[in-house]
């Protein structure tokens, strides 16, 4: 019987220093399994976004390495990682249907039908130009694009920041209902209370260091607290 490899993300000695005094990510070693929803938690400036950017090849590490499904970050890993950044990365001048064409052309795992169905559910016309949509709808369109992929790893940077509670519910529902169950989802946020119920595991980061990587059940059993309450205790000012 062959050995089933369960590791999806392998990070070894990862460091990102912008200069000698500003080390955003400091010597992180971490292995994430397949099939989990992982919360990447930490206060502002803890290095969450830097780590996410390195996972997606948007930042070059100063030291260390990242492997995703056995491949270093590069062309092949990008074909299997669906990334939602903390900003609008689409051109406002494009119609949504043109953006769908773009995703169909470049991502083999992208389902146009799924995306169109989700757009229909939100009453968003694919012929609309992105710049005419509200901020909330723009974020929803980006999320729909990301979640319409059948990826191995979903990396969502602050997906519920800056949107109203109803939109938050929609976003979380979309994530839960659409991700590939064999895949891992990394969700970076500081709104822990809102996403706690969907998380399997959490990563706590502070000043670029990995403070804790454990399961949500473990926190509840060992500390008798919710993740939100435990986070407040660990990061108390």
């Amino acid at each position: 019987m062959g050995i089933v490899m369960n590791e999806l993300v392998e990070i070894v000695g990862l460091t990102k220093a912008y200069d000698a005094r500003h080390v955003a990510v400091n010597n992180i070693t971490l292995t994430l399994p397949k099939g989990k929803i992982v919360g990447l938690l930490g206060p502002n400036g803890s290095g969450k976004t830097t780590l996410i950017k390195m996972l997606n090849g948007l930042l070059t590490p100063t030291q260390g390495s990242i492997m995703i499904n056995g491949r270093y970050v590069g062309v092949e890993s990008k074909a299997h990682v669906a990334y939602l950044p903390d900003r609008t990365y689409l051109s406002g001048n494009q119609k949504i249907c043109e953006i769908l064409d773009y995703f169909v052309d470049f991502y083999e795992d992208f389902s146009r039908e799924k995306a169109e169905e989700m757009l229909r559910n939100l009453n968003i016309d694919p012929e609309t130009k992105l710049k005419t949509l509200s901020k909330g709808n723009k974020e929803k369109v980006q999320l729909i694009l990301v979640m319409s992929r059948n990826a191995d790893l979903y990396v969502l940077d602050e997906p519920i920041a800056g949107v109203d509670p109803a939109a938050r519910d929609y976003i979380l529902r979309t994530i839960i209902n659409n991700y590939n169950p064999d895949a891992t989802v990394i969700i970076s946020t500081h709104l822990i209370g809102d996403i706690e119920q969907v998380l399997d595991e959490v990563i706590f980061m502070r000043y670029g260091h990995l403070v804790l990587y454990t399961s949500v059940d473990n926190i509840r059993e060992q500390h008798g607290k919710s993740v939100d309450a435990y986070f407040r205790e660990v990061f108390a000012c």
Binding site: N56, L58, L59, A79, V81, Y83, S91
Partner: protein, 287 residues
């Protein structure tokens, strides 16, 4: 994937590029119109012209504007392509560009090919526009003769022109034409690669990346000009010392200038392409 990238580059740029070309057509029309003023007719007939009027003033104004607009359109397309490169590579839109499952070579090549083709189209457009203006001017001065007569006249003297080319440039007219064509085809791609390289060089700085890109571009231009002028001077002095009385001196100088400019542009483009590749693959730091 290169084909797909180029397709989407084209789809994103054809509207602005097309508008600039349409602008060129309009500018050319006004350039042609400027030679219809009475002043030019009088100049062609060699008659005294004392009633300088509004139409003549407009003609001069239009001609002046024609030149300004042509320069504006030439630089307009370069600036547009440069801004688009910066926006899609190093601002928020770069988050999508750099997470596509394609190689950095494919990304860079698609942008260079697309921008180079647009610059080439503008170059051809400007050439045709100048031809229209020249024909408009010739039309005024050779009134009474048919274009067929003029063409026949040129063809009858083609051997003489060819001899003249041989004497001045040291090569046949057709060879010179091919050399000029290759030069004109390659130059837009070299220029845009250098511009993209300078923009990428700006990314090596922690702050003021746009400013540093402009400084890098100016620096590259100065260095390339110094190298080009130095080599040109050495070759020219060498030529002058050997054939000071030869009538092919001017042509030889022009040939050397074109060759040196071409070689330096190719070397420069190769170096700046490598810098763009190095920055995007090894030093990418999206803010």
């Amino acid at each position: 994937m290169l084909g797909k990238l180029w397709k989407h580059e084209w789809k994103s740029t054809w509207k602005v590029g097309g508008m600039l070309l349409l602008g060129l057509v309009l500018v050319s029309f006004f350039g042609w119109l400027s030679f219809q003023a009475p002043l030019w007719q009088a100049a062609a007939n060699n008659t005294n012209y004392s009633s300088f009027g509004v139409w003549d003033l407009l003609s001069f104004g239009t001609l002046f504007m024609y030149v300004i607009m042509l320069i504006g359109l030439h630089y307009g397309i370069i600036i547009y392509m440069g801004v688009r490169f910066y926006k899609t590579m190093y601002t928020d839109e770069g988050y999508l560009t750099h997470t596509l499952p394609v190689s950095k070579h494919q990304i860079l090549m698609s942008k260079i090919l697309n921008s180079g083709v647009w610059m080439l189209l503008m170059e051809v457009g400007i050439f045709l526009s100048v031809m229209v203006l020249m024909l408009s001017m010739i039309g005024v001065f050779v009134e009474g003769h048919s274009w067929a007569d003029l063409w026949n006249n040129v063809m009858e003297n083609i051997d003489y022109v060819d001899e003249l080319f041989m004497m001045v440039f040291g090569m046949r007219m057709s060879s010179y034409f091919w050399m000029l064509l290759v030069f004109s085809l390659v130059m837009p791609f070299c220029s845009i690669t250098v511009l993209f390289g300078a923009i990428s060089m700006g990314q090596l700085f922690a702050k003021h990346r746009v400013l540093m890109a402009i400084v890098s571009y100016v620096g590259i231009m100065i260095v390339a000009n110094i190298i080009s002028s130095t080599i040109q001077s050495i070759v020219s002095i060498n030529q002058m010392s050997r054939q000071i009385t030869d009538s092919s001196l001017v042509g030889g100088y022009m040939n050397v200038t074109m060759c040196i400019t071409g070689i330096i542009s190719l070397v420069e483009a190769a170096a700046l392409y490598w810098i763009s590749y190095y920055v995007t693959s090894k030093k990418l730091n999206m803010e």
